[in-house]
C-alpha cells in the first residue's frame, strides 16, 4: 500500500467513482514525481480491487461499478503517456486486450456490462461492442485491435448457437488459435462451452475475471 497521499486519494476516487477526483489525484501524483507504475498498481488497481470486493459482497451495485470504471478510465488517460514514456513497451503493461459483445440477435447486456466493467477495473483494455453484434464485426474488431480475448454473452437460448458459429468462423478463417474465446450468460454452462469448443465460461463476473487472468497468463 502506497503511503503517498495522492495515490491514496486515487484509491478513494476510484472507490467513490469520481472521475474528476481521480483525474486530479493522478495528475497531482505525477506532479510530485510518483512513479507512474506505482500510481497504476497501488492507486488504480487497489481501488479497483476494493470495488470488486464490495460488488461481490453486495455492498456495491451496478451503478457503483460503472462509475468506478469511469473514474479509472479518466485517471488512465492522465497516467498513460507517462507510463509509455518511462517504460519501454509499457503499453504492454495493460494485462490484455479484450473484445466483449452480446452476440447477434440478443439484446441483453447487463451481464456483459458487468464483466466489461470488472475487466476494465482489473487492468484489461476492453472494447465493448454492445449488443446484437454480428459475428463478422466481432472477429474483425478483435483482429483490428490485436485482442487476446473475445468475450461473448447471450441470455437467449436461441441466440447461443451464434456463439458456436463465431468459433466455427474463426476456424474457417484459420485464426482460431489467435484468440481465447470465453462465453457467458444465464443459460450458458460448462457443458455448452465445451460443446461449442470455447476456451471457458464463468458463473459470474468475478469468476470471469479470474478465468481471463488464468487463460491470458497461461
Amino acid at each position: 500500500m502506497s503511503e503517498n497521499p495522492y495515490v491514496q486519494a486515487l484509491v478513494e476516487a476510484v472507490i467513490d467513482g469520481d472521475p474528476e477526483a481521480s483525474t486530479e489525484a493522478a495528475q497531482s501524483a505525477l506532479d510530485s514525481n510518483v512513479d507512474p507504475l506505482e500510481i497504476l498498481n497501488e492507486g488504480l488497481m487497489t481501488g479497483a480491487d476494493e470495488v470488486g470486493k464490495r460488488f461481490e459482497n453486495g455492498e456495491y451495485f451496478l451503478p457503483e461499478l460503472m462509475l468506478a470504471g469511469r473514474a479509472l478510465k479518466a485517471a488512465m488517460e492522465v497516467v498513460k503517456p507517462s507510463l509509455v514514456k518511462k517504460y519501454e513497451g509499457t503499453d504492454n503493461k495493460v494485462k490484455g486486450r479484450v473484445v466483449s459483445a452480446t452476440i447477434q440477435t440478443d439484446i441483453h447486456d447487463i451481464g456483459k456490462n458487468i464483466v466489461s466493467s470488472m475487466l476494465t477495473a482489473a487492468g484489461y483494455e476492453v472494447t465493448d461492442m454492445g449488443v446484437d453484434v454480428p459475428i463478422k464485426s466481432i472477429i474483425d474488431k478483435a483482429e483490428e485491435i490485436g485482442a487476446q480475448v473475445i468475450c461473448l454473452s447471450a441470455l437467449l437460448t436461441t441466440s447461443m448457437p451464434f456463439m458456436k458459429d463465431l468459433i466455427e468462423t474463426l476456424k474457417a478463417r484459420g485464426i482460431r488459435e489467435k484468440f481465447i474465446v470465453l462465453v457467458g450468460g444465464a443459460s450458458v454452462n460448462e457443458d455448452w462451452a465445451k460443446h461449442i469448443g470455447a476456451d471457458g465460461t464463468a458463473r459470474n463476473a468475478a469468476d470471469a475475471v479470474k478465468v481471463v487472468h488464468t487463460l491470458v497468463s497461461a
Binding site: T157, S159, S187
Partner: protein, 455 residues
Amino acid sequence: MLNYLEILDRANSGPYLAEENWDLEKVAMTTKRLVKKYKLEWNQNELVTDDASLSDAIYNAGYELAVTLGSYSRTTERVIEISQDEIDNGIRNAPQNVVMGEGKDARTLYARHLNDERAPLFFGGSPGTPIPERFFLANVMSYMQEPLIDLATCGTLVEVDGREVRTGNPIEIVSTRRELQYMRQGLKRVGRAGMGMLAAQSSVSELGDLAAAHPDYLRSCDSHLVPMLNELKMDHRNISRAVNSLEYGMVNASLPCVIVGGLGGGPAGSAVINVASYLIANITCLADYHILHPIHMRHIATSTRDVLWVINATGQAFARHAPEIIVADIYPKSGAGTKELLYETAANAIVNAVSGCHLEGCGAADGNAPNCSGLEARLMAEVALATHKMKMSLKEANAFVLQLLPKYEHVFTQDGNPGKPFDEVYDLQKVQPLDFWQKMYEEVKTELKEMGLKV
C-alpha cells in the same frame, strides 16, 4: 390516449443521448436521488410490509421517475419524452378488466385491490423455459389440465424437427407457429379449447410474433409479450410487437424485468424503477396488463428475500394507489422433483397473492432447463387461493414467508438445485406426476397445513 405513431416520431426525433449516459446519469442517478429523497429502505425481515406510508413513498418515487425520465429508444439512441399529462392519462386509461379466451373457458383479468374480494387468476406454464419438442405437448398439457389453472402459458421451443432454433432466423417463424399448434392442440385435448393464452414465447425477436398473429395460432383473445429493455428502454423490435397488435387486437402484456442489484441499486431503487416501468409501459407497450418479474442480479430467482420485497412493494404500490392488472411471475431457483421448488413456490404465491397480483408459474430451475411440471403450478394456485380465502393479512403473510425461507434459502449458496427434467417427474403418456414427485408434493402440502395454511 397518445397515438402510437407519435411514440415512433418521438423515438426518431427526441434528444440524442448515448446509452451509457441514459443508464448511468439518467436512470441510476435519478433513482438514487429519489430513494434518498423519499427515504426508502428495505427490510430483509419484513418482505411483506403493512406500512402504507412506505407504499405511498414507493409509488410517488416511481411516478416522479417516470415523469422525469420518460423512455429511451435503443435503436435510435434518443430519449422518448413523455409528459406528466400523458403519464396521468396512461394511468386513467389503464384497463381495469380484460377478457381472455373465449366461450365457457373465457376469464376476466381484473385490476386487483388490496384485500380484494375476488380471487386471483392463475396462468399455468413455465414461461420462457427451453423445452424440447419431444415432450412440449405433454408438458403444456400438464398445466392446462389442472382445474385451478385459468389461463395457459408455455416455455420456448428450442428445436423443431431436430433443428436448432435461432433467434431472427426463418426457423423462429416455424418454432413460434409450432408452439402455438401444440398449445391449441393441448387445450383441445384437455377439453378447454377456449382457454386464453399468454404465448408465442418462442418468438424471441419480433419475427415469430408477427408470424403468429393469426386466428389459427395466437387469437385476438390471447396475449403476447411486449418487453421493455433494462431499464425503461424500448427498441424498434419491441415497438413492432406493440404495433402488431394495433389492428389485430391481441392483448398486450408488458414485460419489464427490472434487475434487482442493477441500475436501481438495491431493492428499494429496483421497486421504484418497476413502478416507473409500468407507468411508461402503459404508453410505450400499449399494455393491457403488466408482468411483474424482477430478476435477481446473482440468483435470477423471484424467491429471494430482496425480490420478494420488490414484488410486494411494486404490487402494493399499484393496488393501493392506481390499480392496474398485474400478473406476478414465479421463477424459483429449484427444479422439479425437489421439495425446495415447492417451498419457493409457496412463499412466492403468498407474496404475489397478497400484493394485489394475479399469478403465473412456475419457471422452475430459473427457467433455464426443462425441469418444470404442472404439479408445482397446482401448488401455486392452491396456496394463493388459501391465502385469499383465509383473508390473510399482510402481517400474517410476512410471518408465513419467514417460516418458509429457512426451508429453501440454502439453494442460493449451493451450486443450484436444478432437479429433474419433465420426463423424469411425469409419466408422458398419462401426463401424471410420477409417484415420488406426487409424494413430495403431498408431504410439503401437509407441512403447509401444519403451519396453518388452509390448503
